[in-house]
Symmetry: C2
Subunit: 370 residues, 2 copies
C-alpha cells in the first residue's frame, strides 16, 4: 500500500495537468467491438452441404471434407473490413477520437505502453473522450482478406528499431524517451503484427469512412502509415471534423503544386497527389501534425533521423500549401515546445502523458472538446 | 429517453437474474494489454545499420533498403506470443476468467455479439470477475509468427455456417438462438480471422501457462479448438483452478484408456492421448463442459449435428474416465437444463445471458467466485 502510494504520488507529480487521476476507476458507459466496411467475395459453383467425396467412406478426414466443400464452391468470404473496439465514458464529450495505427501495428499502438503504463486509450478516456480503436483491414483482428497473403517470418526488429528513432541497435539514442529495460523492448517488438494481404489505402479508408458514418462527427487520430489513409478519409467523409497525425508517412498535394521528390539514402519520398477538389476538403478542418525528437535538417547516415528529416520537411511544405489555400494546419515539433526525447511512437514514449496533454489542449483550442 | 427506458425494461425482464443492470456503467479499476510468451528467432549475419546497397545512389527505394537490411541479417523477430486485453472491475472477485477463442476466431468471440448485445466480456465484468481476453499466438493481434504463413482468401462461410450449427445455408435451424437478420450474419462472418502460421497447440498453451503466472490463480474458459489447448494448459499450470469449456474439439485420455475413433462422414474424431501423470492433473480441478442444441445421438447427414454428435459422445466418455479417476467433470447439455436453440457459439447466441448465468452459478457452486 505504501509502495503504491509512493508510485501514485510520483505519477501525480508528473502529470498534474491530467484531468482525472490514474487512481480513479474508469467509468465506462458502453463498450464493445464490431466490424465495419469490407466486401464479400463469392466462389463459383453451387454450395454442397454434403460434398460427394464425404459420402460412404469408412474413414473421413475433416480437412478433406473441408477441401471438398470449398471446391464445390458457391460460398462467400466476408473480408477487408476494419475491426473496432470502442469505449464511451460516462459524461462523454461529443466528438469521439478515432485512432488508426501505422505500418506493422494494430490497435495495440494506443493501448498499454511497452513499459506497462497507460496509453492514449486510457488517457483520453480519462479526458472523457469516447475512443474508437481500429485494426485496419488485413491487419490484426481484421485478418480476413479478399486477397491471398504470403507472410514471411523474417527477422527485422533492428531495422524498425532504427526506423522508429529508438536508436541504432543495440544502442539507444541519448536521452530517448523510451524505456531501456529488456522486458519493455520485448513488449514493444511484440506489438508488431503483419499485413495479411496487401496494404491497400483505399480499402482501409473506405472502412473508416463507414466507421464515421456510424460514430457521427469526430476527430481522426493517425500514426505513420495510417497518416496517409487519414488524409483520404478526411477527403471522403464530412464527419471528420479534425485530424491529428503523428509523424504521417506522406501528404497529398493538389495537382500542379506537387513538390519534387526528397531523397534519402534510406528511401526517398515521392509526395502524394490529390485532385484540387479533394485537396480543398482538407483546407476546411483543423489539422495538427506532430513530429518527435532526433530529427535534423541535413542528410544523415542515421536511418531514423534521415527518414523523418524528409517527412518533416515535406510536412512543412504541405502545411504551407494547405494554409495558402485557406487551411488550418499546424506542424508541432515536440522538442520546440519543450517535449524532448521522442521516438516515432510518441503515444507510448515515457512522456506520453505530456504528448497527450498537448493534443488535448489543441482539441480544446479548436473547440473540439465540447 | 423514453425509447431507451422501454428497451431497458425489456432487457431487464429478459435477464432478471443478472447481478448488475446493463444500464449501470462499468467501473473499471484497471485495463490494458500486453504480450505474453513467445520466442525469438534470429537471422544469421551481422546487423548493418547502413546497408551497402543504400550508399551513394541517386534514387533510393525504401523497400530495396529494407531488403538489403534483412539480407545483411543479424536481426531478431519476436513472435509466437499471445496478445491479451484485460479489465479488472472495481471490487473484483479473486479469480480472473481467462478466455481463449476457437478456430478462426480471436478475442472478438467474447466481445459484442453479432447482433450488437453484450458478450461474455461485459457480462462477467458485471458479475465482478476480472476478464483476460486472448488472441492466441499466430492469430489476430498476435500475427507475428516465427514460421512463414500462406493465407488463402478462399470463400468458406457456408461451410462454417453448417459446422457451427447455425443451419444449412441459407436456412437457419428452426428456433435457433441466432439472429437471422442480414446485418448480424455479416457481423458474425467478419469475426473470422485466419491463422498466420500453422496452428501449434504447444506454442499456444505455453503462452497461456505464462499468462497464468502473471494473473495468479484463475479460471480458464475455452471454446472449440481452444478446448484442446485448454486441457494442455490445465495439465501444465497449477494456477488453473477450474476449466469451463464450450464445445471443446477433443479430450486427452490417459494412456491405456483411449477409446476408439468415432466416425462421422464430415470428419472422424481420434481421441487425444496424455500421459497418466499429466492426465491426473485434470482430475484435481472442477471442469464443466457445455454443449448446445441441435445435436442428436445418431449419425446424420447434417454436418453440424454430426460433427458435434461425435464430440458430445467423446465428452461423455471422457467425463466418465476423469470422474472414475477421482475427477470432477460435468457435461452440461444446454437443452436438458432448459436453455434451447444454441449453436456452437453459445457465448454470443441470443440467449447468451442465460448461458452466462449458468456458468456463473457453476462458478459459485464450486466456490470460485470468492
Amino acid at each position: 500500500m505504501l509502495k503504491k502510494s509512493i508510485k501514485l504520488s510520483l505519477w501525480l507529480t508528473a502529470c498534474a495537468f491530467a484531468v482525472q487521476s490514474i487512481a480513479a476507476p474508469l467509468s465506462i458507459e458502453e463498450q464493445g467491438s464490431f466490424a465495419v466496411g469490407g466486401s464479400v467475395k463469392t466462389s463459383e459453383g453451387v454450395y454442397a452441404p454434403l460434398p460427394d467425396m464425404a459420402k460412404g467412406k469408412e474413414s473421413n478426414n475433416f480437412v478433406d471434407v473441408f477441401n471438398a466443400s470449398i471446391q464445390a464452391g458457391g460460398q462467400t468470404l466476408h473480408g477487408d473490413h476494419a475491426t473496432v473496439f470502442y469505449q464511451i465514458p460516462t459524461n462523454p464529450r461529443p466528438y469521439p477520437l478515432v485512432f488508426l495505427h501505422g505500418a506493422g501495428q494494430s490497435m495495440r499502438t494506443w493501448q498499454t505502453t511497452a513499459d506497462g503504463r497507460e496509453g492514449f486509450q486510457n488517457i483520453f478516456l480519462r479526458y472523457n473522450f469516447p475512443v474508437y480503436l481500429i485494426d485496419q483491414p488485413r491487419r490484426g483482428q481484421s485478418g480476413r482478406s479478399t486477397v491471398d497473403a504470403e507472410v514471411k517470418a523474417t527477422p527485422d526488429d533492428q531495422f524498425w528499431f532504427a526506423q522508429f528513432r529508438i536508436g541504432t541497435y543495440p544502442n539507444f539514442n541519448q536521452d530517448v524517451a523510451f524505456p531501456q529495460d529488456k522486458a519493455s523492448l520485448d513488449q514493444f517488438f511484440r506489438q508488431m503484427t503483419p499485413n495479411v494481404g496487401a496494404f491497400n489505402a483505399a480499402v482501409i479508408s473506405d472502412s473508416i469512412v463507414k466507421l464515421f458514418e456510424r460514430t457521427g462527427n469526430g476527430v481522426l487520430v493517425t500514426h505513420s502509415q495510417g497518416g496517409i489513409v487519414g488524409w483520404l478519409v478526411g477527403m471522403q467523409s464530412d464527419k471528420v471534423k479534425a485530424i491529428a497525425s503523428f509523424e504521417p508517412g506522406n501528404f497529398p498535394f493538389p495537382e500542379g503544386e506537387v513538390p519534387p521528390i526528397i531523397t534519402s539514402k534510406f528511401g526517398d519520398i515521392k509526395p502524394a497527389v490529390a485532385s484540387k477538389a479533394d485537396f480543398e476538403k482538407l483546407t476546411k478542418i483543423p489539422i495538427v501534425i506532430y513530429f518527435g525528437d532526433f530529427i535534423g535538417d541535413k542528410p544523415s547516415d542515421n536511418q531514423g533521423e534521415d527518414q523523418w528529416r524528409i517527412r518533416l520537411n515535406l510536412a512543412k511544405q504541405w502545411a504551407d500549401v494547405v494554409n495558402k489555400h485557406g487551411g488550418n494546419v499546424e506542424v508541432v515539433e515536440l522538442p520546440k515546445v519543450g517535449i524532448k526525447g521522442n521516438t516515432h511512437f510518441m503515444m507510448s514514449d515515457t512522456n506520453n502523458v505530456e504528448v497527450a496533454a498537448h493534443l488535448r489542449e489543441w482539441l480544446k483550442d479548436k473547440g473540439l472538446d465540447k
